[in-house]
């Protein structure tokens, strides 16, 4: 019995759909879990209850209900909008966010798409989403959308650099850009014990900015720009953008957990559950930041990236390189 299953799984044409389905299932459920977590965590931080009705138990099915509602909504394309670009933008934003999940190592020998340059592929993919944002912003024919899109682009350029530099420090330490190898080289405590803790801080901050989550949510600043590039979107397309945001939180948390927190490794019983727990923990941090901080101004945000984060990550790269060359153990 087990033999036949193993034989079946060795077959490429059987294995691929299984992998695709598994990744898709993770992609579909995990962002929803994080979305629900955001509802509840923020509610309790803000002296209220959050969703309590849908799904009978503490509103567990709230996001499913939301999804059904979004499907029913009228899909409006403004008359002045660039129709094709407007319609395609959610897909351009969403698909890279899904693809990232394919490169994450979920356990020993459990990498859906093994790649020698997994680190760079994931980082590259996660920044493609902003093209979708720009497309949405430009095609909406709305001034608020346009300003939101321009801000998003400026923000991405500023924060991509510290993000990549921090990740490069990890790659340097591990001696590989293969995510699976990076995890292998870490103990279960990860890289945050040691100088790379600075890298974790830099990466976390830059990732928050890249996700345009508070306090770096200038592109959608709801009190100024109404809703930035999302202003003109309705129905399912809007839901896709929301899904992109949560998928982005999950994928960035997964990358951060893989790079700095030891990925699927745990003090006992190594496996995907450890990665899941770390992702949830990091997502909690993302949500926590949202309910704590006001948002930065655009120029403050830029100067924070260029004056603080970039030099910090460059210094980190130097230190890690120095320790590596002189073989001072980390």
């Amino acid at each position: 019995m087990i033999e036949t299953v193993r034989d079946l799984l060795d077959n490429y044409w059987v294995l691929t759909p299984v992998k695709v389905l598994a990744v898709l299932a993770i992609f579909l459920t995990f962002p929803l879990v994080v979305g629900y977590m955001e509802h509840k965590v923020m509610a309790h931080m803000q002296a209220r209850l959050g969703p309590m009705e849908a799904g009978r138990f503490h509103g567990v099915l709230q996001l499913v209900a939301d999804g059904i509602k979004f499907v029913q909504k009228e899909s409006i394309i403004p008359r002045a909008a660039d129709k094709w670009v407007f319609a395609l933008a959610p897909a351009v934003a969403l698909i890279p966010a899904i693809l990232v999940f394919g490169f994450i190592p979920y356990g020993p020998n459990l990498v859906p798409i093994p790649s020698d340059v997994g680190l760079f592929v994931t980082l590259a993919l996660s920044s493609v989403s902003v093209i979708g944002v720009l497309m949405a912003a430009w095609s909406s024919a709305n001034k608020y959308s346009l300003m939101g899109g321009i801000r998003a682009a400026a923000q991405l350029i500023a924060y991509e650099l510290p993000l990549v530099l921090a990740a490069a420090a990890v790659a340097m330490q591990a001696g590989s850009a293969d995510l699976a190898v990076i995890v292998e080289r870490q103990g279960w405590w990860g890289y945050i014990v040691g100088p790379l803790v600075v890298g974790f801080f830099v990466y976390g901050t830059a990732a928050l900015a890249e996700l345009t989550r508070p306090p770096f949510d200038m592109p959608v600043a709801d009190s100024e720009l109404v809703f930035g590039h999302l202003t003109e979107y309705t129905g399912l397309r809007f839901a896709f953008f929301l899904l992109t945001e949560y998928a982005g939180i999950v994928s960035q948390s997964a990358i951060a957990a893989t790079l700095f927190l030891g990925g699927w490794k745990g003090p006992f019983l190594d496996g995907p559950w450890w990665l899941a727990a770390k992702v949830l923990l990091l997502s909690f941090g993302v949500i926590w930041a949202r309910s704590t901080y006001p948002r930065l101004r655009e120029d403050q945000l830029q100067s924070f990236a260029w004056i603080r984060l970039v030099p910090l990550s460059l210094a980190l790269l130097l230190v890690v390189g120095f320790l590596k060359v002189y073989e001072v153990g980390v």
Partner: protein
């Protein structure tokens, strides 16, 4: 005498020979052609909390010009008042600034009483003070919640409303109303306090004080909040005075003007309190002054709680109240600033003219000055810290 500088500018000696200036030709000669963008912020916009419209001319994100366009909520209160008798006017005015109804109706009661030369029972005056100060706390708490919200911090809003709810419970119990309380009457109050209300008010004061400390730590002490508001929207004292700005915005500029102090009404001269002032007149100071004003209000409430004497709360009036011929003016400190009513009576049951001077209208008129040259995100920081209610602007 002009000498060519080469790149489109010309140096010249000023006519009186005092210095050298540079004339820069049209910007478009040297740089890429740019065009200003006109953006309509409002009337339906999340930051204008209501229907204020600001016509903004933008160069990138820099505001070149900002003009508030008002009147989307004009309800012609002044004209309506000419057709309402004095009791009805009280129900009318608590609608222009809908978060400080008692303070508004108090002004009307005072102006009519002044014209009729009515003696109001002492108990009624003390209770009016108590209610007016709680209203002030209610109003300020709303802005304490909404201002961080506009800067992107969503949490303080919920906490401010939790606090408000406790005060609302007290007010509801006393007056029976929630938003438009309509508690003041010409000559006194609608009804006496229910038994235990003063005790409830006593209990509330320390609780509010404790919570205020949290706001000071978590909002005023937040680095990003300080970075967003310090030095933003500086309104110097002389400019503030020339626009007729009053309330927290004026006090933040360093002017200790508060009609409770400078022209005491009710028994404000018998209680101890300070007028908090700021130093820089920026958004941060305005918010800090707002918080300090809540504290002072709590101080007043504490004293009033102990001084309410027994006695009647109203005087008997004829069925139809007629103010004698003449005119009267009353100036009060509403939560948002100086609120004045001017009434001209021809001896009929309705006023011949009823003029309101509402604080938000004057405060908002300083916006073009404040917004010129700031960034779009600062516009929100400035507008939020002027603390206005749209109904109070348009009347």
């Amino acid at each position: 005498m002009a000498t060519e500088l080469g790149s489109g500018g010309a140096a010249f000696q000023a006519a009186d020979g005092t210095g050298v200036g540079i004339i820069v030709r049209d910007k478009a000669d040297r740089e890429l052609h740019t065009q200003d963008m006109t953006l309509n912020v409002g009337p339906q916009h999340p930051a204008t909390h209501g229907v204020l419209r600001v016509l903004v001319t933008l160069d990138g994100e820099v505001i070149e010009d900002a003009q508030p366009v008002i009147g989307y909520m004009h309800r012609s209160f002044e004209k309506l008042a000419e057709y309402r008798d004095y009791r009805q006017i009280i129900a009318l005015v608590n609608r222009h600034d809908w978060v400080s109804s008692i303070c508004n109706e108090l002004g009307v009661a005072l102006v009519v009483e002044r014209q009729m030369e009515l003696e109001v029972p002492e108990r009624a005056t003390w209770i009016r003070m108590l209610m007016a100060e709680w209203t002030r706390v209610l109003n300020h708490l709303m802005f304490v919640g909404s201002y961080p919200l506009e800067l992107g911090a969503i949490t303080p809003m919920f906490y401010a409303f939790r606090e408000r709810e406790e005060i609302q419970a007290l007010m509801e119990w006393i007056t029976g109303g929630r938003l438009h309380l309509t508690y003041c009457r010409v000559g006194g109050l609608k009804q006496d306090l229910p038994r235990g209300a003063i005790q409830m008010s006593r209990d509330l004061v320390p609780r509010m004080r404790e919570r205020l400390k949290e706001y000071e730590d978590l909002v005023l002490g937040n680095e990003i909040f300080a970075a967003r508001t310090k030095g933003v929207g500086v309104l110097p004292a002389d400019v503030a005075c020339s626009y007729g700005v009053s309330g927290a915005a004026l006090q933040a500029a360093g002017v200790p003007e508060d009609s409770r102090k400078t022209e005491p009404y009710l028994f404000y001269d018998q209680v101890e309190f300070d007028v908090p002032t700021g130093r820089n007149g920026d958004s941060f100071d305005r918010f800090a002054v707002l918080l300090a004003r809540i504290k002072e209000s709590l101080r007043i409430i504490e004293q009033v709680n102990e001084r309410i004497p027994p006695g009647p709360v109203n005087v008997r009036l004829p069925k139809v109240v007629r103010a004698p011929e003449g005119h009267a003016y009353v100036r009060t400190e509403a939560p948002l600033g100086q609120l004045s009513y001017y009434m001209v009576s021809h001896g009929e049951k309705t006023p011949w003219r009823f003029k309101m001077r509402t604080p938000s209208f004057n405060n908002i008129s300083s916006l073009p000055y404040l917004l010129k040259g700031t960034l779009l995100p600062d516009m929100i920081a400035v507008m939020g810290s002027i603390f206005f209610i749209v109904g109070d602007i348009d009347r």
